[in-house]
């Protein structure tokens, strides 16, 4: 038998090189997506350069743009985590917006019913209610999945549609603000509002979510729960045979996802709108999924990708104003980045295969 000791892992230099090589498909996917969208914009008779300048610089031109971007970044990061965490266990949570709406519902219920309470009591109550409601909503899907083997893609999506009706009922009947016109609730008590700092004011949900994202990334890498989640996603049968309660891990991943999406809803209520209104979920679900997939399920990458997408989203309106290119172009751009990135996997595999063939020949 050989007595050569193998390395625990490749050297730092090798790993840095591998990371550099791994970055190439990302850069290419983004570039190609921009080129394709530029062509479409040009075909529609607008100026692509102007459009892209508006999209990319809006967030950085002034502090207002930056705060807007960070406020957008908060729900995007949370919904992306809500998609990426169950994805780690091989489950698809397409119910982020429903869970977010329920989170907003829980928060707004506290904020309206207990509006007289002071901040120290009301704000935590509001956040906790939002988190719990989101977790509960995802818990329904998790229970159906575990108990009856109902496909979680279907159950989470169907619950989204149920949540729209709940929102509509609460905002246009129960707590309706008659002066607002449309499905909008009355405002929550002042004690339920997230404090704001700086100028222009930024709500402290941004800091809260930044800390949460760091904790999530650390926990995924180092903790037993993170390892079990990864094991279930990589090979559910093997994980089960080695003592991991796979069903419990999958259910927990869904519930944690619901809690995060619920938190997003609570922060939108407490930090941004101070009430619940129709459309509060925006298109955060789709963007969260796109972010989660671009990040390849890596919780470490999610906040960074989310920031990039937030920049694009905040820039979309400014693009339409200055260049005339419709805002939908931004969603197409994001979809194409994802699609090209997925395809680049195949390209990378082919190149690797060819290299290994050459080495073997």
């Amino acid at each position: 038998m050989s007595t050569v000791t193998v390395a625990a892992r490749p050297s730092v230099g090798e790993r840095a090189k591998a990371a550099g090589v791994a970055a190439i498909p990302y850069i290419l996917a983004v570039l190609v997506a921009f080129v394709v969208v530029a062509i479409i914009i040009a075909l529609l008779g607008h100026d692509p350069a102007k459009a892209f300048r508006a999209v990319l610089t809006n967030s950085f031109r002034n502090r207002t743009g930056m705060v807007q971007t960070l406020h957008k970044w908060v729900p995007l990061t949370l919904l992306a985590l809500a998609f990426a965490i169950p994805l780690g266990a091989g489950r698809f949570n397409i119910g982020g917006e429903g869970q977010m709406i329920l989170g907003a519902t829980g928060a707004v219920a506290m904020g309206i019913l207990l509006s007289d309470l002071p901040t120290v009591v009301l704000l935590p109550l509001l956040i906790v209610a939002g988190v719990a409601a989101g977790a509960l909503w995802a818990g329904i899907s998790a229970w159906l999945m575990q108990q009856f083997k109902v496909n979680e893609i279907l159950s989470t999506v169907l619950l989204n549609f149920v949540s729209f009706e709940i929102l509509d009922y609460l905002a246009s009947v129960v707590w309706s603000d008659p002066g607002a016109g449309g499905a909008v609730t009355t405002a929550i008590g002042a004690g339920g509002e997230l404090p704001r700092i700086g100028k222009p004011p930024m709500h402290i949900g941004v800091i809260l979510v930044a800390l949460l994202a760091i904790a999530a990334a650390f926990y995924a890498r180092r903790s037993v729960a993170g390892f079990e989640l990864r094991a279930v996603g990589l090979n559910e049968r093997a994980a089960k045979l080695h003592g991991i309660r796979t069903g419990k891990v999958a259910v927990m991943s869904m519930i944690v996802a619901g809690a995060l999406a619920g938190l997003a809803g609570a922060i939108e209520v407490a930090g941004v709108h101070h009430r619940m209104l129709e459309g509060i979920q925006s298109n955060f679900l789709i963007l969260g999924i796109i972010i989660g997939l671009i990040a390849r399920g890596s919780l470490t990458a999610v906040p960074f990708v989310a920031f990039g997408i937030a920049v694009l989203e905040v820039g979309a309106g400014s693009m339409q104003r200055t260049s005339g290119a419709p805002v939908e172009m931004v969603l197409i751009l994001e979809g194409l980045i994802l699609l090209f990135l997925l395809m680049s996997d195949w390209v990378t595999d082919q190149l690797r295969l060819r290299a290994s063939r050459k080495a073997a020949a």
Binding site: L158, F161, V173, I289, L293, L342, M343
Partner: protein
């Protein structure tokens, strides 16, 4: 009451097209999850083409071709490129939905949209697509269960390795099934502005694409059972729509929830039937080495 039945039969059509498309792809092992987006694309194209370039039938045809193209992309990405079916399906859902919005915005802009003419009735107050949808279901049953090529398609969804070992082209079969399936889904979407609203709106599909997936499971991935199940889904749909117009005592939002809640309950039973194709959602790689 007869009015309710007439409406239910009309409401059945989009479910039937989309669920049969889902079934057809699925029987070859391709689990498409981009129905919601493909229906939206079909609705936008169907509406715009009908309005501007030659009427309903041309609109349906162009929508079918666009849906087939998206289906083909799904087939290509999951066979030749072996990408994950759900991930590609979701990406195509976003892209097709985004494309639908974009097309509408580019052609119509922010103006009040003109209405297109509805499909003409043939008999019993039903339009031609009602009969096409029912006939299609019968045809799919006959093809899948009474012909050699249908048996080949089913074998690809059950055990592609076995099919491959008998000279059946798994990739080509899957490409075909995914394309035809995508085409049917877009037709189901194109029917919406033609039969109901007369105009396109971003919310026009309202979850029917997802419900159609549920219907495919409910119908055990069999065309004849899907035909039967689509009546149930359509009845729920009609109830929900009616409640918004005429109040019946309880808040209309709760009636509007009905299709989704009922589907969730029905799914509890549907997933016990275990009639799902064995290789649904799984890619096939001939040279993957399982044993040394």
């Amino acid at each position: 009451m007869s009015d309710f039945i007439t409406l239910t039969i009309t409401a059945m059509v989009p479910f039937l097209f989309v669920a049969q498309g889902t079934m057809l792809s699925g029987r070859a092992g391709i689990f498409n999850v981009s129905q919601e987006g493909l229906m939206l694309l079909g609705a936008a194209i169907g509406y715009l083409v009908s309005l501007k370039w030659g009427g309903n039938l041309v609109g349906l045809l162009v929508a079918a071709l666009a849906g087939a193209a998206f289906g083909a992309i799904l087939g290509w990405a999951t066979t030749y490129l072996r990408m994950d079916q759900f991930v590609v399906g979701l990406a195509l859902f976003f892209l097709s939905g985004g494309t639908a919005s974009l097309l509408y915005r580019v052609v119509i802009g922010a103006d009040e949209p003109p209405r297109i003419r509805p499909l003409p009735d043939i008999v019993f107050g039903q339009d031609v697509l009602v009969f096409v949808a029912i006939g299609l279901s019968a045809l799919l049953w006959w093809w899948l269960y009474r012909t050699d090529s249908g048996m080949r398609l089913r074998s690809v969804g059950e055990n592609p390795k076995a099919a491959d070992s008998l000279g059946i082209n798994v990739t080509r079969t899957r490409m075909l099934a995914a394309s035809l399936g995508g085409g049917l889904m877009a037709v189901g979407g194109a029917y919406l502005p033609m039969a109901f609203s007369g105009v396109y709106a971003d919310g026009i599909v309202a979850g029917r694409g997802w419900l159609a997936i549920a219907l495919a499971f409910f119908g055990g991935w069999r065309p004849q059972l899907i035909l039967a199940g689509s009546l149930f889904f359509a009845a729920m749909d009609v109830l929900a729509q009616r409640a918004q117009v005429s109040g019946i005592g309880i808040p209309h939002q709760f009636v509007s929830m009905l299709p989704y809640v009922a589907t969730l309950l029905v799914m509890i039973f549907a997933f016990r039937w275990a009639l799902v194709p064995q290789f649904l959602g799984k890619n096939y790689d001939r040279e993957s080495r399982i044993t040394g």
